[in-house]
Subunit: 720 residues, 2 copies
């Protein structure tokens, strides 16, 4: 077990590395040639252009103004300065509410930490449980002296822990309630305030049954003319336009080359020549500009032809459509009601934003969907509990013995000491690390296979899976011994009342490990986030090798996005650790508070300056966030119960068992009270918008407004 | 353990008692003076009147036609003769679908029994596991020789059981799927075919927020004029009219007395006199008819006054209203959508039928509802697991010792041998029996406290609670030893993988007990149902002591109803026993088939001739029925898994673990596919009704049609 000084050294190292990251960031971001890496959001909004084109050549790349280096941390207050409303305008509601998760962390843990240090730390520290129980060969660390381990068994002091656990639960629930209320009203305000977004008038209809007599388009029109005669406006069938999309992409590429050659002509006033053969290495020499012009013309014709093909060929029409209504009210009614007797046909839901749609999943029939869910549920179970098996096999293959057996001709190479130590010390770790890096991608692929229709729901699904994986393999995996499957097996062979005891006993022992984990992942890791090392390198590589035109430079920017599917489960791990350790080892809390504070500043800066959110779901993820904090709370209560049982304070169990019951009830209450606002769209809001407009026709949108937007996107984007 | 001959004797006794019940029924039902007990449904429909008033005096009471006694079982084919469609007309969809539960039992268990007897019984009977394991002091019964217990441990024969378990699962799921499909389509047809029922145009609005400036009625009108301008028709606020209801009841009673005295005058041509004082025993003598006439006039005036009071006094207006729409479509839209930003205000749902409404619960606010659910969940937990504690206390008090201690002056009485043996042998049992008799009532009271708004949902809730109670206390309670709480305790202290083993080991041992249980409860109990002993006695008592007028006689009839809250959980117990024992002890199956067949005939007869269903929910209970059969299926699979583990056929577990996964998936599929039809009301059906009518105005119901029905009921019925 680590002593306080061990922790101190680790903290020093991590603070140092975080500091280095910040200094590096401060230097790099001031260099003009990195401008597009650190401020892409402003470029995409058209509010920033490339730095001074004139002036000294060096100035274009390096910032020589030494004064700007002195204020190297001033991006932090700058990040905090933008007010929330402006931030919603700037980056959307999703990003703002995502930031609120960190704020919730601060709101929950700062008062909890004060209470824990004011009450629990003195109670624990003045006990002598460890000393009196101490055997000679076990030296208890200083952290343990401040933790619940130091209290004597059957001591009356445990009442302090129970009372404080009540206080923690009520405080957390209070904050969660307030926050749910706030986010729900923000969401409704956001939806109501937005100016006539097409998706507010549009409903996505899936599983349109095939009809031998009518085309899908006619069928949709007739169905909605009959069932929603007063509100139906128009519809847009979804096409499978893979080939068309390919052609459009090709044309774009050619146009880019054309621009490049035209720029060249301007600069060198010499018409460039290219070879038409393979990779421009062989074939006839032709004038580059003329050649590209003719190619583009040819492609344009092909595209027009293919476009006709797609819209006329019944095979390329998918059994899904976007149906637009004259009023928000009509769309709300259609999205929230069941259309036919067969509830698996004509499924309606609010249309996702055009950029949020995941096109390939729109045409999956209902039965196939349920089968896919079953397969993925089984697959995820195996992924969570048995992922170590393939990795162990790979590690076996990549070991010295494995290589010597399978590839004896490599022996001379392996004998080299450097390579040998590399294989021994590094390769096995890499297999696991690679798996963990690709895990979010694997989970996203699994969600895609399950058939969700929008990117936001894909990410939400992947996030909840990732959370489960983290819970089993990081939280439980580090508390208990053995692989996840061995744990599962031991849990099955254990009585239900032993679970809390098993976990409860191990929890205090692992406090110093998790403190280190928080510092590495939560301090240095967050600081590294701001440096954006990967996009920085890739941007400069692209800039050096690939960029030919201004448009290429624009495309070389990789602003990225929040990455809800990886980011949120990560935060949730800190909620879990914080709540679990709050009443057990309060020493953990300050480290978690530093994480939440630091991450809030860093991500606020990133959202303002870097990330470009791909879609806007209107904070539809908040119920998930809320639910996972509740789970963390219940886990913490169960752990405390187990811990007190091992301390033979068994009479406390009835007092503690009330807490999870109340917490579950609180969750059910919140679910009924707020969740509908995140799933449905209240009719009153629709009508209010109409009334506020004060203009009898303003609620009827331009006749072609929504459907034409969906039309253009459906035509060009599918299956990209 | 019971031998085959023991079972034979028990079967003989139960068949005999069932036979006696049937004979008694055959004799009693033919007597004219029992006519209103055995055919009340026809009286209520106005299709049957009291038997021949003329003729011999004896003929009026006793049937002297000896030939009619010979065909004493001919009510059975008669009960089966009425076709299903006619039965829906006659008794409603609820009753018909309730009968289908018994049919499902037959459809599931007849093929399963054939397969089990063709495959499993030979496999078990030709084994010698019991003989070779048999110790001298254990004599295994004949039933055990036919059960899985007779197969050697680690035998290859268990593959037969595994294969057959697959067949059982697939067959059960197939039948359930077909039945769900059928019931769903019956429900939709029923709803669509019905002529303009008021509840199809009406939505119940609860949790109307208080408004300082407007009355509830104005508020409702404005809200719906704004939010549903095209469809809103009218509304009816719910009044708290307890006092009014009391007055109306009093007036009815007086009117009945008036009729009685008028009849008396006609018969005796002598004006009767009564005393106005207490119970007609003291006070002034007055003319009875005049006195009642003046009293009724006085009451009528009071009622008119109170009616004005109720409709004007804001305190008696509840925050709930029935809102009627011009079209079914408008009502469907309103019932299925969220009305306001705050999802706990203006809650809308389809209005229950007027007679299905449970008035007192209409005004409970949302927060109170969630608190009530929490309290009842906790209370039900204690009721299920700790109900033995108060009963044990009562039993302690009611024992000889207890009485001697607390009431020594009773000693001489207790010393009498007859009373002593009564106290010793009977009183303790009565305490438990009384509790079990009142349990459904207790559960109904709990559901009422939870705040459901319709009688049908109250009964559904009570049924699911009763099922849980039966599962824990009858199924598990008889398999395992000790009280429910001791079992709970031992389960908590047991590893999860031990559960199936604990249950699995005990299951075959209890087969003969459950066979006896089935015969007592399922054979003789069902036969007793047809005799209607309690209503028979009460009717004749009332007839003798209370009946004064024809109207009184009508009210003395107690047709009763199906009693979904007690009947359905009882059937489900048989599904559970049947599925669990199908692959373990196939001997149980024939007994269960006899139960389902007998019960089907008896209840079909009762539904045709006796029961008068209080409400019509359109088979809204089917999802519950389906779900519980699925649970029984999963329990049976788990039990088989545990059993095979104890038989050391552990390699079978992976094959068996697939079954619950598939069954759960099947349930999720069915839920998505069919359940919406039982909760929502598809818009297409609404439109179809309009189109079929071929008359542009026919879908607009008479302006006052729905609301006036609700108005009259609300005014007279609340809180009765």
């Amino acid at each position: 077990m680590a002593t306080l000084s061990d922790i101190g050294v680790a903290a020093g190292l991590n603070i140092l590395s975080a500091f280095i990251f910040f200094v590096a960031f401060a230097i790099l971001r001031l260099q003009p040639f990195n401008d597009r890496v650190y401020f892409p959001k402003w470029y995409l909004k058209g509010l920033r252009t490339d730095p001074v084109h004139g002036g000294a050549f060096v100035r274009k790349f390096v910032n020589l103004d030494w004064r700007s280096y002195l204020r190297f941390l001033n991006w932090m207050p700058a990040a905090l300065r933008m007010p929330e409303l402006e931030l919603i305008d700037h980056a959307g509601l999703d990003s703002v509410v995502y930031l609120r998760i960190y704020l919730v962390g601060l709101k929950i843990f700062v008062p909890i930490a004060f209470l824990a240090w004011a009450v629990l730390v003195p109670v624990n520290a003045t006990s002598t449980g460890l000393e009196s129980a101490g055997l000679d060969n076990i030296t208890s660390s200083d952290i343990d002296k401040l933790s619940i381990s130091n209290v004597h068994s059957t001591s009356e002091r445990f009442w302090a822990h129970i009372l404080v656990a009540y206080a923690f639960t009520f405080w957390t629930c209070y904050i969660l309630l307030k926050e749910y209320e706030k986010v729900a009203s923000m969401r409704l305000q956001f939806l109501a305030a937005e100016k006539r977004r097409p998706d507010q008038f549009t409903v996505l209809v899936r599983n349109i049954p095939p009809d031998p007599d009518e085309s899908v388009s006619e069928l949709v029109e007739h169905f909605f003319l009959v069932n929603h005669p007063d509100n139906y406006l128009s519809h847009q069938v979804v096409y499978n336009a893979n080939k068309l999309a390919k052609l459009v992409k090709k044309k774009k590429k050619l146009q880019n080359w054309l621009v490049y050659y035209q720029n060249k002509v301007e600069r060198t006033s010499e018409r460039p020549q290219i070879k038409t053969g393979f990779l421009g290495l062989c074939g006839n020499k032709v004038d580059a500009i003329d050649h590209h012009n003719t190619e583009i013309d040819k492609l344009s014709k092909e595209i027009a032809l293919e476009r006709d093909n797609v819209s006329n060929d019944p095979k390329s029409i998918m059994p899904a459509a976007f149906v637009s209504f004259k009023t928000r009210w009509g769309a709300a009614v259609c999205a929230q009601t069941q259309q036919t007797r067969n509830p698996t046909m004509w499924l309606t839901e609010w249309a996702p934003e055009p950029r949020d749609i995941y096109w390939s999943n729109l045409a999956i029939p209902y039965v196939s969907l349920t089968v896919r869910r079953l397969i993925m549920a089984v697959a995820f179970f195996f992924l969570t509990f048995f992922f170590m098996i393939p990795i162990a096999i790979v590690q076996g293959l990549a070991s010295i013995d494995g290589i010597q057996k399978r590839a004896p001709w490599l022996n001379p190479l392996i004998e080299i000491p450097f390579i040998k130590s590399f294989i021994q010390g590094f390769l096995p770790g890499i297999a696991l690390k690679l798996f963990l890096i690709f895990l979010p991608t694997i989970l996203m692929i699994m969600s895609k296979f399950e058939g969700f229709g929008s990117i936001s729901s894909l990410e939400r699904r992947a996030a909840s899976r990732y959370y489960l994986f983290n819970f089993v393999n990081i939280f439980l995996g580090n508390i208990l011994t053995g692989t996840a499957f061995e744990q599962l097996d031991s849990f099955i062979h254990q009585a239900a009342n032993e679970y809390p005891i098993t976990i409860g006993t191990a929890i205090p022992l692992k406090a110093s490990f998790f403190i280190t984990y928080i510092m590495v992942d939560g301090w240095a890791g967050i600081a590294a986030e701001v440096l954006m090392l990967k996009p920085l390198i890739i941007y400069h590589l692209k800039n050096f090798f690939l960029v030919k035109t201004e448009k290429d430079r624009e495309e070389a920017m990789d602003p990225g996005s929040i990455g809800f599917n990886t980011g949120e489960p990560r935060i949730q791990l800190y909620f879990l650790l914080g709540l679990v350790y709050a009443s057990v080892t309060p020493t953990v809390l300050p480290f978690i508070i530093v994480f939440f504070g630091l991450a809030y500043v860093v991500f606020r800066h990133q959202i303002i300056n870097v990330y470009n959110q791909e879609y806007e779901s209107g904070a539809a993820f908040w119920p998930d966030v809320h639910f996972r904090v509740i789970i963390a709370l219940i886990v913490s209560q169960i752990v405390l119960m187990g811990l007190l049982t091992t301390k033979k304070a068994a009479s406390s169990t009835p007092f503690l068992i009330v807490l999870p019951v109340l917490t579950i009830w609180f969750h059910i209450y919140c679910k009924g009270r707020f969740e509908p606002a995140f799933v449905r769209y209240p009719l009153q809001v629709c009508q209010l918008i109409i009334l506020m407009a004060n203009n009898p026709t303003s609620h009827v949108c331009d006749l072609d407004f929504p459907s034409c937007i969906y039309a253009s996107t459906t035509f060009i984007l599918p299956n990209l």
